[in-house]
């Protein structure tokens, strides 16, 4: 019989169990996943650290409200599949969330253990349970409610769309997801690189959504291939718009259209979706720089920088106008990037890109200092006069954020949007100015996190269910 661990107070205070990783020297030269995940023993030991708090403060930090102590308890008991089942009660994509959520600002931030030491590694445990179930080859067949006879269109197959579609299908609705690109997953597929989120994991999770009963139609640019109104006229009883914020921003500084200057969306789409890092085995080319500068401070900037490194760059710098403290990127990824040899130039603002024969050759920058907090609460960077300097660069990636793509909304004139083009939607239900049209994820909030998009998809699924059946959502 398995040894029963002592309960809460008796637990020894141990640091969190480290996760095995590829060594920095090795991984900077390949696109394989950096973090190797927990094995069974490591997962057991880490789950044992959980105090099983009655009030479950960690749950409040999770946008989809996973019953965290309940699933860590299952792991502690050695019931790994039971843990996965517990996760899937709330989360259709646990293998993804366990990998890409910024846990330090969500569930783990509120963990009781974190007050005096290190919080429970909730993300790593989530990842472990999901991977264990998938690798066992005996994933539970998902249960579906009896058909409601209602049709729902989900526009976009990113995290918000997949989550909403999965929940609606489980509740018995007939769901069709429309995806513009040639593969499903949204940012999970074209944005987040293989070394952070293997595409096989994304395919596995997308396949799970299919097994829940949702259909996916690829190559469908709603707004071009079909109008939004057409879908409603074609017999869809409701729609959920989850098209993300995929329009890249540029700085509008001189030299930005030089050859060798890319939006992060382009650079990452070439590499991740089109597998240009495998050119010429794959047909899509990508430029290999030797001195690469990436402008921005979010996860997208880090992903771009680390991709450039893996494509063989000698020097990769991230140019960020604020300081380390304001950097929105995930702490673990910043640490990984630094270990791999990426340098970060803080408090630096590009003002002009310098060219030679049509190609980018460098970047003129200004040094900054931090002033008063701005509307985002972060201290506003202010240029220091006369601090201009030049940075050599033969490849530049702009990762300063994205905006709303106007293609779809233009085909639905009654759909209210704000000044920046984001869709106006109820913060709880996601309902828009059109009764049967809901929206969620980045197209409502602007660029945010995968799990927040999933939370929005989940809430809208419940609201759509209520609209179509008059009943409370069962999940």
């Amino acid at each position: 019989m398995k040894e029963q661990p002592q309960k809460s107070k008796g637990k020894p205070k141990k640091p969190r169990v480290p996760m095995r990783e590829q060594t920095p020297g090795k991984r900077a030269a390949n696109f394989d996943e950096v973090a190797l995940g927990y094995g069974e023993k490591e997962a057991l030991a880490e789950a044992f650290r959980c105090l099983q708090c009655k009030k479950k403060p960690c749950m409040a930090g999770c946008p989809v409200e996973i019953d965290i102590p309940a699933f860590t308890k299952k792991i502690e008991e050695g019931d790994f599949k039971g843990a996965a089942a517990k996760l899937k009660e709330r989360n259709n994509l646990p293998a993804i969330c366990g990998r890409v959520c910024p846990q330090e600002t969500q569930c783990e931030k509120l963990c009781t253990l974190g007050k005096k030491g290190e919080p429970v590694a909730i993300g790593r445990l989530e990842r472990f349970a999901a991977d264990f179930e998938a690798e066992s080859g005996e994933e539970e067949a998902p249960e579906r409610a009896t058909s409601t006879g209602k049709n729902v269109a989900v526009i976009g197959s990113g995290p918000a769309g997949l989550t909403c579609a999965g929940d609606l299908a489980r509740m018995g609705h007939d769901v069709t997801i429309f995806e513009a690109l040639n593969a499903p997953g949204g940012v999970l597929t074209y944005g987040i690189p293989e070394f952070r989120l293997p595409k096989a994991v994304v395919e596995r999770e997308v396949d799970y959504i299919r097994r829940l009963g949702a259909r996916i139609e690829l190559d469908q640019v709603i707004g071009c291939s079909r109008g939004m109104q057409e879908l409603l006229d074609d017999g869809f009883d409701a729609a959920f718009i989850a098209i993300g914020a995929g329009l890249p921003m540029f700085m509008n500084i001189p030299g930005e259209n030089l050859n060798g200057v890319f939006s992060a969306n382009e650079y990452l789409t070439r590499s991740n979706l089109m597998k240009a890092y495998l050119f010429p085995e794959y047909d899509t080319p990508i430029k290999h720089g030797s001195k690469v500068a990436v402008v921005g401070g979010g996860n997208v900037a880090l992903d771009s920088a680390r991709t450039a490194l893996r494509l063989g760059a000698d020097e990769v710098s991230i140019v960020y106008r604020r300081s380390r403290e304001e950097m929105p990127a995930r702490a673990e990824e910043v640490a990984h990037a630094l270990e791999e040899g990426v340098t970060i130039k803080f408090l630096t603002l590009p003002v002009r890109l310098l060219g030679k024969d049509g190609w980018v050759a460098g970047m003129e920058c200004l040094e900054m200092e931090l002033g008063e907090p701005d509307e985002s609460g972060r201290r506003r960077p202010v240029p220091i006069k006369g601090s201009e300097f030049e940075l050599d660069a033969d490849l530049v990636v702009m990762a300063i954020g994205t905006r709303a793509n106007p293609l779809l909304a233009a085909t639905l004139p009654g759909l209210q949007r704000d000044k920046r083009g984001y869709i106006d939607a109820d913060p709880v239900t996601g309902q828009t100015s059109i009764r049967e049209v809901f929206a969620g994820g980045d197209i409502v909030t602007g660029s945010a996190t995968v799990i927040e998009a999933m939370g929005a998809g989940k809430r809208s699924a419940a609201a759509i269910h209520r609209l179509l059946t008059g009943e409370q959502a069962p999940i």
């Binding site: 190559d219 071009c224 079909r226 329009l247």
Partner: protein, 271 residues
């Protein structure tokens, strides 16, 4: 799988394919394009619609075999197909009634200008088409263009058909004797650049269809960005049609050369 219904070799290394695509055919307008991906390892690339039939559910594309992807596309047998076909994309060409419109097509650009020419005529314009190619054998769609034009002028570099000389020269000669209210030019970037230079001299409003490098074709990456009137625009969603007198042609030509080395590697492997 999107099926090739009909494939014809209409000139040296130039193919015409009819593809089964009822949804695209039912929504297409003159000036729009599609994005294709042939197989699992393929790249996404754009081609402008040459013709389509909403009733019969097909679209027609005409292309020259220049690289790996067009090579692959040209080899798909009738009845077989490709993995991905997306569209119609881009803004439709602006069709106005202005009087006398001159449509200038260079090489396979003639295929792209064909539906625009047809719509301009339908809108009540008098239409003159000036078709250019390197040699007479490469002048495509002469009969189709004649059917939608009031007058057709052919120009070839070697004089093997029609006027001897470049299409821009033929246009210049034509404008010396005839007044035009609008010029539409589609062809290689360099041809559109010089065409725009000619029409600027004659002060004729000019529209061009820009052929910049594309990836997604839906506005999410900006690889197709061009400068028009000093502003950065994305050709895939803001265009592909723009005012030829406002385009920064040298920038477009430079950006089109970005992957020449890689394209050469792909081309060699495709053979």
């Amino acid at each position: 799988m999107f099926k090739v219904l009909k494939r014809q070799n209409i000139a040296e290394a130039v193919y015409s394919v009819h593809l089964e695509a009822p949804q695209i055919a039912s929504r297409a307008s003159a000036g729009q394009f599609v994005i294709l991906r042939i197989d699992e390892k393929g790249e996404r690339f754009p081609l402008t619609l040459c013709d389509w039939s909403p009733d019969e559910g097909w679209i027609r594309l005409i292309f020259q075999v220049v690289g790996a992807s067009t090579h692959k596309l040209g080899r798909i047998e009738e009845g077989k197909g490709m993995l991905d076909l997306v569209g119609p994309l881009g803004r439709p060409a602006e069709i106005t009634t202005c009087g006398h419109a001159v449509c200038v097509g260079g090489g396979v650009g003639i295929a792209a200008i064909h539906p625009i020419c047809r719509e301009l005529r339908r809108a009540g314009n008098r239409v003159t088409s000036i078709l250019g190619a390197r040699t007479g054998d490469l002048v495509i769609l002469e009969d189709e263009m004649a059917a939608v034009s009031d007058k057709v002028i052919v120009a070839t570099d070697d004089g093997s058909k029609g006027i001897k000389g470049r299409v821009t020269w033929a246009l210049e000669e034509f404008l010396k004797s005839e007044r035009a209210d609008l010029v539409i030019a589609i062809g290689p970037a360099i041809m559109m650049k010089y065409t725009s230079a000619v029409t600027r001299e004659f002060e004729v409003p000019t529209r061009v269809s820009l052929n910049s490098i594309m990836l997604d074709g839906t506005g999410m990456c900006g690889t197709c960005r061009v400068e028009v009137g000093g502003q950065t625009r994305f050709a895939c969603v803001d265009g592909p049609e723009f005012d030829g007198h406002q385009v920064d042609w040298n920038l477009l030509l430079s950006r089109l050369s970005q992957y020449l080395g890689e394209e050469e590697i792909s081309r060699r492997l495709a053979r």
